[in-house]
Amino acid sequence: LETVPTIKKLRTLVEGIRTAELEKCFSKMGDDIPKKTRRAVDDLSRGIVNKILHGPMQHLRCDGSDKRTLSETLENMHALNRMFSLET
């Protein structure tokens, strides 16, 4: 459960990157973006982000039943905190 706030922070950080890049992209594409294109591009951005996050997110969750897994999960959390500067 200690890792739950890290999941939220990592989600927030990556969502910020995603929306910032998405807006840049739409502004480059001009005014008349077909709805189908807009949808496909939005899906693209979510697809990339979600597939990258899947592994790390999974390794922030553990059932806590065995000790090795818990300590590894905490190490993963510390590493993510460092690598993404998640501690504020």
């Binding site: 739950v4 999941i7 939220k8 989600r11 979600n50 997110m57 969750r61």
Partner: protein, 119 residues
């Protein structure tokens, strides 16, 4: 047309969110939600509900936000089409995290994570 009005409310809601005005955003999304429900349009209903949820989160109203994000999930179930669910699970979990209910947050993050590899 009403559908046109609905889309305008959604668009202006998004703009208000972008310009850091969640209160105005919330109003626009609520108008959109009402129209979507009247038009029986579950796809736009989900977008409106998600918008309200996001606005309420910015306003720090996490309990209310959870209710609106949950509307996305129930609309998905109703129509058998699950677009927006990944985002809804994640957002609900974020709200529970803010409320300090980490057990509940964990449950919803698990549903969120399980969907990250699907499309």
């Amino acid at each position: 047309s009403r559908k046109h009005d609905l889309l305008l409310h959604l668009k202006s809601g998004k703009n208000f969110l972008r310009t850091q005005d969640p209160e105005s955003a919330c109003l626009q999304f609520k108008n959109a939600l009402e129209l979507a429900q009247r038009l029986n349009d579950p796809i736009e209903e989900k977008k409106a509900a998600r918008g309200i949820g996001a606005s309420l989160q910015r306003l720090g109203k996490y309990k209310e936000a959870i209710q609106y994000h949950s509307m996305v999930l129930s609309a998905s179930e109703r129509v058998g089409e699950d677009s927006g669910n990944t985002e809804a699970y994640g957002a609900i979990a974020d709200c529970y995290t803010e409320l300090g209910e980490l057990d509940q947050a964990g449950n919803y993050y698990d549903k969120y994570i399980a969907r990250l590899e699907t499309d």
